[in-house]
């Protein structure tokens, strides 16, 4: 792909040179750039790694056309990259045709326009949209196009017929990643670069903190808000500020790799997010809670193909594989690694969950009594920080 690009570039440069040199020469008709090839469906980024589940038997084309709308660039190595990997997996798994559009703002007419284009021009049967801010427009579009399935990640709205939402219990692997971080911090101070003070992020910070405290009761988690999902400069600066203030491990709820690069520069450690980012800062990398959207996408596409789709509010956990923990760094102590495996097994078999009492909030009030486990409702609307988190839970 890259080679072909260079080749074409050379052709163009050569043509331009010819035009420049042969100015006035009648024989030298300007070579019009005629397309020689049909456009290939071209993902901008080569995957660094094959999707985890190995492709099974040859996929059969079920004729479904699925379109994905991403909020960031597929090359972000984070949130959107993970979704795009899911799209590729689903395509190879189901044989469906997939399209995607990247960098689509949450506000303004863009989202709506691109979805309508996918439906009207590409005959899309199912639309996956992967950012919270698309929710209102999705609801509206679902009403206008009753024959198209709309699946929305990270939102809470749905309808009876063709509009569902899906998300994963990321707090589970976050808890495990907290255990690894808690074991490796020497300063007992962990910096957490977080985007927005919304329940999803608060839940993650709390789970991470509880995990760290499990192996290291003295640990404190310091939170800074960046007010952006993807802005490498701001993310990096925030991480640097936390490191400056004494943290020796950086965790994050962000979509770029910048916090990891900041940690590596400072000789500190890093828990990444979204995908296994160990390649970007190998010395700093500890582990990462990661998304694995592929199987869910494949399932929805299959359901659409077989006509069995029914909208739901899917919130899968480690048991379903939609969230997982990336491999641990080699220096995570063996006893902690063993304990992480043990807890992971409990999370998968459902015998235990993260928000099980006794849990106190920042002010020392008991929010989950001993022996009780938090229901999904309060978890989805979480608005507090647990004891041990330093920072404001309102942003």
């Amino acid at each position: 792909m890259a080679k072909k690009f260079l080749l074409k570039l050379l052709v163009v440069l050569a043509a331009l040179t010819l035009i420049a040199v042969g100015c006035g020469n009648d024989d030298d008709a300007a070579p019009a750039p005629a397309p020689t090839q049909a456009p290939t469906e071209a993902p901008a980024l080569e995957p660094t790694e094959a999707p985890e589940p190995e492709p099974t038997e040859a996929p059969m084309d079920d004729g479904v056309i699925a379109a994905f709308v991403f909020v960031g660039p597929v090359g972000d190595a984070g949130w959107t990259w993970a979704h795009n990997e899911g799209r590729r997996f689903a395509e190879s798994q189901t044989g469906a045709t997939t399209h995607f559009a990247e960098d689509i703002p949450e506000d303004g007419p863009d989202f709506r326009n691109i979805v309508v284009d996918f439906i009207e021009n590409e005959d899309a049967d199912v639309i996956f949209a992967t950012s919270f801010g698309y929710m209102d427009a999705m609801e509206e579009l679902a009403g206008e196009y009753p024959d198209v399935v709309f699946e929305h990640a990270s939102g809470y709205k749905m309808n009876e017929d063709n509009f569902g939402n899906f998300f994963g219990r990321m707090y589970q692997p976050r808890y495990l990643s907290g255990m690894a971080a808690g074991a490796l911090t020497e300063a007992n101070q962990i910096g957490y670069v977080a985007a927005f003070a919304i329940p999803e992020v608060l839940r993650g910070i709390n789970a991470f903190t509880l995990g760290a405290q499990r192996v290291n009761p003295d640990v404190e988690v310091h939170v800074t808000w960046t007010l952006t999902w993807f802005d490498p400069a701001v993310e990096g600066d925030s991480a640097a500020a936390l490191l400056e203030a004494g943290a020796d491990v950086i965790a994050m709820h962000q979509d770029s790799t910048a916090p990891g690069l900041a940690a590596q520069d400072a000789g500190a450690r890093w828990v990444s997010y979204n995908s296994d980012m160990s390649a970007f800062a190998p010395d700093a990398f500890i582990t990462a809670p990661v998304w694995n959207w592929g199987p869910y996408y494949a399932r929805i596409i299959d359901a659409v193909a077989s006509g069995t789709y029914a909208p739901g509010a899917y919130w899968g956990g480690m048991d379903d594989g939609i969230v997982a923990l990336a491999p641990l760094a080699a220096d995570v102590p063996a006893d902690v690694a063993a304990e992480i495996d043990e807890v992971a097994a409990q999370l998968i078999d459902g015998s235990w969950d993260v928000f099980t009492g006794e849990i106190r909030d920042q002010d020392g009030n008991v929010v989950v009594a001993a022996g009780e486990t938090m229901e999904d409702g309060p978890m989805l609307g979480m608005e507090f920080f647990v004891e041990g988190v330093v920072g404001s839970a309102t942003g």
Partner: protein, 370 residues
């Protein structure tokens, strides 16, 4: 040594201007075709899609007009200040300020009937935009502080205020903990015309007509142009520069505030930090391409809107967002370069003694002595 120097043309005919616009875009399209071919896309297919989704059919036109409305208003906002030689870089922020105040008013005046509520919200949006502009305007008129810096800085202030409002005082209790501001009441939605186009488009059109007449045909506009073109002459003619700077900037802010409110009540449902969506900044390009003339803003805004709609839609053909962005930028850049060349010409200057100085023009009207 011979070197090129840009020399301002004495007179630019509107026809040459429009022709330049078209030529610039055509050149950009040819260069864009090369880019598309190099990046493995079919230029013909891509351009066809761009054209179709921007112009063909009512739905496409409605999309283009949906974008034209805010672009025309922010372009007008920048042009009103620009016709006095002032630069409002912060229409983006004034859009937000207008939407904030309008949302606040809607929360308090929820019980009003639709038309009344809409009128109140639009008026308060204008006030909000003016309010954000008040500081820069006063600083400029009384202290000479550059409005370029102050208006730009306030963009980020306005966006941060929305971020604070949505996690703080205006957080919608019904949003399951998500930081979102409540939707504006249903009766506040602007009545639609066709497709996605609402009466905001008519408001924008009306304002463009009013302002192009006001600037070119009234004593007020004459004073504005005089003050922008030659401040000392304006002072000599008895124009109060301070008052003119204040009115031009406040009107500019008010129009941008109105743009924000029309977005709020027309295309969006609630106030979010992304509401202004870059329209305020794009307005600067629109106004610059229209040479700060309100009459040109409508045309440029329409073309600009079409380029954005068309450019966005080609992603469905598998064109990456990066290529689509470059393509859009090239088209606008082509138009901009054309605008430069149709207002200036290149003179090749020779060594001293062989050429006349570049300041000296042969005026088209040759008059010597008397």
């Amino acid at each position: 040594m011979i070197r090129p120097v840009l020399v301002r043309r004495d007179r630019v005919l509107p026809a040459t201007q429009s022709l330049g616009f078209v030529v610039g875009i055509l050149v950009a399209l040819v260069l864009g075709a090369i880019l598309l071919w190099v990046s493995d896309n079919s230029p013909a297919e891509v351009y066809e899609r761009m054209f179709d989704s921007a112009f063909m059919g009512t739905d496409s036109l409605s999309r283009t007009l949906e974008r034209t409305t805010p672009l025309a208003l922010t372009g007008l906002s920048v042009a009103v200040a620009g016709s006095m030689g002032l630069w409002n870089i912060g229409a983006e922020g004034q859009m937000m300020a207008g939407a904030i105040v309008a949302t606040g008013v809607a929360m308090m005046a929820d019980g009003l009937s639709g038309p009344l509520l809409i009128a109140v919200m639009l008026a308060s949006g204008v006030a909000g935009g003016m309010l954000l502009m008040l500081g820069p305007a006063l600083a400029r008129s009384h202290l000479g502080v550059s409005e370029i810096i102050t208006t730009l800085m306030l963009v980020y202030v306005a966006i941060r205020v929305v971020e604070w409002l949505q996690v703080g005082p205006w957080k919608d209790p019904g949003s399951l903990g998500f930081p979102r501001i409540e939707e504006v009441p249903d009766q506040a939605s602007l009545p639609g015309l066709f497709g996605r186009v609402n009466i905001g488009a008519l408001i924008a059109l009306g304002l463009l007509i009013v302002f192009s007449l006001a600037v070119s045909r009234t004593a007020w506009g004459y004073e504005l142009r005089l003050a922008g073109s030659s401040p000392d002459t304006a002072r000599y003619a008895g124009v109060s520069l301070r008052r003119k700077v204040l009115t031009a900037l406040l009107l500019s802010g008010g129009i941008a505030g109105l743009a924000g409110t029309i977005q709020l009540t027309g295309t969006e449902v609630r106030l979010t930090p992304g509401l202004s969506n870059g329209f305020g900044f794009s307005g600067i390009i629109v106004a610059a391409l229209a040479l700060m003339r309100p009459s040109g803003v409508a045309v440029v805004a329409f073309v600009f809107g079409a380029v954005q709609v068309g450019g966005q839609s080609i992603q469905t053909l598998g064109v990456s967002s990066a290529i689509s962005d470059i393509l859009q930028a090239m088209i606008l850049f082509g138009a901009l370069v054309a605008a430069v060349f149709f207002n200036y010409r290149i003179r090749w200057t020779g060594p001293v003694g062989e050429s006349s100085g570049e300041e000296l023009e042969e005026p088209d009207i040759a008059v010597e002595g008397a």
